[in-house]
Subunit: 247 residues, 4 copies
Amino acid sequence: MDDIEIEFFTDDELHADILIEGLPGIGQVGKLVVEHMIQELKAEQVVGITSIFFPPQVLIEPGGVVRLPDNGIYLWKGPERSIAFLIGDFQSTSNEGHYLLCDAYLDVAEELGVKRVYTLGGYGVGQIIEEPRVLGAANTDNLIDEIREAGGVMTGDEPGGIVGASGLLLGLAAQRGIDGICLMGETPGYVVDPKSAGVVLDVLCRLLNIEIDATRLEEHAAEMERILAKYQEAEKGKEEDSLTYIG
Amino acid sequence: MDDIEIEFFTDDELHADILIEGLPGIGQVGKLVVEHMIQELKAEQVVGITSIFFPPQVLIEPGGVVRLPDNGIYLWKGPERSIAFLIGDFQSTSNEGHYLLCDAYLDVAEELGVKRVYTLGGYGVGQIIEEPRVLGAANTDNLIDEIREAGGVMTGDEPGGIVGASGLLLGLAAQRGIDGICLMGETPGYVVDPKSAGVVLDVLCRLLNIEIDATRLEEHAAEMERILAKYQEAEKGKEEDSLTYIG
Amino acid sequence: MDDIEIEFFTDDELHADILIEGLPGIGQVGKLVVEHMIQELKAEQVVGITSIFFPPQVLIEPGGVVRLPDNGIYLWKGPERSIAFLIGDFQSTSNEGHYLLCDAYLDVAEELGVKRVYTLGGYGVGQIIEEPRVLGAANTDNLIDEIREAGGVMTGDEPGGIVGASGLLLGLAAQRGIDGICLMGETPGYVVDPKSAGVVLDVLCRLLNIEIDATRLEEHAAEMERILAKYQEAEKGKEEDSLTYIG
Amino acid sequence: MDDIEIEFFTDDELHADILIEGLPGIGQVGKLVVEHMIQELKAEQVVGITSIFFPPQVLIEPGGVVRLPDNGIYLWKGPERSIAFLIGDFQSTSNEGHYLLCDAYLDVAEELGVKRVYTLGGYGVGQIIEEPRVLGAANTDNLIDEIREAGGVMTGDEPGGIVGASGLLLGLAAQRGIDGICLMGETPGYVVDPKSAGVVLDVLCRLLNIEIDATRLEEHAAEMERILAKYQEAEKGKEEDSLTYIG
């Protein structure tokens, strides 16, 4: 087997103008956005990617059927543009594998004719945030105004850079002359965060000039709020109880 | 030397319909079952596998002769079917090696003509279990009824998937069109568990429609029960002693 | 992509007599010296190096534009000699990568015609030092007098050797018949240390027989002294406070 | 550069009947023996080995000259037999590198015509031992009597096998039809142990049927005894002091 195996599920010639990446990461923000878009747009999987750089295991589906970890590319043909989505189970388990996988993703993107890459993720801030901002980054100067106009915040003072596929895809895309924008929703970092995914989706839709029904994502976010509120109440109760004990 | 070295011990053309894997793992459940079957069926080793992905050491046999870590394939020619067994000293020390070794095992399996793979292991539950169940998984839908009929339990809610060769062999076999079933005996996880091996052997024999004398495995399990009972009594004694001290 | 990618930014034939390395390391001493020299001499980047052995991330520049981690070679044509500088973002994340990257740097050096390599770094001593010395090492006997005459101290009793590019470049250069000198400024090890960089620059300039205006480096060092002095005062205040409490 | 680089220092045809390995390990026992033999027999280095699997650093010699970590093969032409010695700075930093390096060492051994390999090491027992035994292991049955007759103890109940070059060389030699014997001197494990090296040298000389003056090794051992005795006295003093305080 090759270190990275890429399988096309069709012999048809495929085309996409844009690639949107939402691999697993902080708060699963990017993955939630791309999952939502795939569902709403009814995008279909056209490519499967397996690799020795993924964890050495299979995943058990409900019912008991197992499958290899794999990442996939889904395609949606819009009236004006076609969009490819990159989503999946895992990122690389090794430093070197991160580079090699991202390079392989871009090989596919180039084959599809992709001219711009969006990478989506969370930006961990360590606490619950009422109104998460969407932080932006780009792999070339002339994309910055566009991000700002769509509601993204350019900061450039995040220390340490952007780690993993959301970062590397931008850096490696630049080498190929492909534009790249990264959108990161602020998120506590320790919970799955559909609320942060919602604000990232907002900014992304403005950038893409398309409309996506966000109802399901909002419902998911509202449910998450209820769970967190209950949890916080329970924690507060514990504190009061312990105060009583102390008092 | 190659990263993985496969040596055939005979020039005869070899054939097997089924491959049963029992490499080291949780509670050594899979290894105990396959060791038992090899002994009872008098299967003979036909292939030896060494690899740079095994730990960098030799094993000392009683008497002081050393040998490289190696995994082996044993063959049994039954009246109706031939079965190959995969057993050995170690699994891979690296993530990538897990994939490459399992791929190499399947290369041999395909060469032997194997149409179905059974992988055996333990499912750690963290406590002593009176009546361990056998959890099943498969790499294709249409094997599930068969597993259930043989007494396996399909759950599919084990989190995190199946790690190591027992999982990967199923996932990689699917890519080659080879059927795969995984049987996992519930086990505490912190002791070698011939009792769990016994129930896995039961289900496996029903699936294979063969009979294997389980006496030796039962004796081993009874002996293990005695050891654990003594250990628990000793622990209980300690607790009572300490209660006395406290009281 | 190759494991190490080397890009020349010009088709002109390039030449350098000397290579000076200042990759990140203890106290950033080497990097500060080479950054300073590049600025003062207005050296220009001629080569860019990216690699799967660098951390899997991009760096965010002020303003929000990202770029891959990369190391670069800068060139300065002096009246008598040409000097190449090796500087950059990271060293290798793996042991093997250190060897392979240093070998690649020397491939470029040989192509440029380099006859001598200087590697610069810090030597961590774990405490603030009033008058840091410059420790020297060489990859051949006949360079030692030269280092001493320039004010470097030959000790040879540093345990554990010189780790990373500053060491390996010397060892690998010897195999190619290229002279190599390492200069290490004593430094606490836990802060960026422009003062140590200053004394290394001193010795290096004497070895190269060139003059470099050190004003900016001295200003940086003075500023760092003020910061450290404030910090020490604050720490002292805390101690006195705690003494008061105890008293 | 190749992952492992082997350099012959002469164009003469070289021959050795025996290879004796003493790379760094527990108590430096093997290294002390081989260093001693090289000195006493005035063996000369004929091969140098460098590798990306060694630590990424250079070693500083007294005086300040640095060199790459390297392992070497030394040759001694005896009246009846020629012996090659393998000694050096480091073993591999990675699991896979251990296999690949040992395989490379055996390539050289085969080229020299080696028919038997001796590997030497320490066997850590965690405490000071008055009369260390020499534990033996072999890669084939018919060497065991020979080891016993020379004073080695065959145990075969050491758990976990023999890790690193001393083990792997035996296992890999067997695959090539080369005899292999491992001698391990019992040693505390936490100090360099010339006493243990002395007893290993004893058994080895009987196996080789040669005589080596052990004076220097005995002096080294006596000196080490004095250091340890002083240390133990100091420790005892501390205990008595603390008893005084308590009393």
